[in-house]
Amino acid sequence: MLTIDASVWISAMSPSESDSVGSRIFLDLVGSSQLTVVAPTLLVAEIAAAVARSRNDQALSIELADAVWTLPFIRWIPLDAELTGTALRLAAKCKLRGADAVYAAVASTYGCRLISLDQEHLARLGDFVNVETPTSAAA
């Protein structure tokens, strides 16, 4: 199973960046194969925030977040007390930012590979979670 950080979803919509092609190929693989994804509910808020702030289009940001929310192969995980506990421990041990720790906690709790472009995920989580870039995961 996979947990996919918001950075991958955002990168896939930024065609001028070098990582974008890898993110698109990886997401296409996930979507066309209907691979099981386990994601924090935070993901849709981050997608909406990123699109609204970078494209200045409120309606489209909500439409995109809704489209991700209704993907049937994503299992949504709310930030409950147990997940909060795991996130705070990972945040402390790995010196992660709060939102980064939430994705790490979901991946750790559900035994998922974490697919991310976040440098702190990639550099600091290796002892706790299997972390890969989308390009590496698609290879």
Binding site: M13, A49, A67, L71
Partner: protein, 78 residues
């Protein structure tokens, strides 16, 4: 303890022929409905994925602020 399929098969074998026919009539619409649901799942999933791709492509074509994904992520997680 849950009933196993093997136990159900043994019970069905013990039924009188008339009851087996009644059982067939009971099961037929349920099997049909189950098959239809199973075959419609990939279609729904494909449709949802295609919809996501359409919206994501629309976002990708919009002019963006001159920021990388890393900078946008820093903005929304700061």
């Amino acid at each position: 303890m849950a009933t196993t399929l093997k136990q159900v098969e043994a019970m069905v074998d013990e039924l009188a022929t008339d009851d087996q026919v009644r059982l067939m009539k009971y099961l037929a619409p349920r099997i049909q409905s189950g098959s239809e649901k199973a075959s419609s799942v990939p279609d729904e999933a494909d449709g949802a994925w295609a919809h996501y791709k359409r919206v994501a492509d629309q976002v990708a074509t919009l002019p963006s602020v001159p920021k990388t994904t890393a900078e946008i992520m820093n903005d929304i997680r700061r």
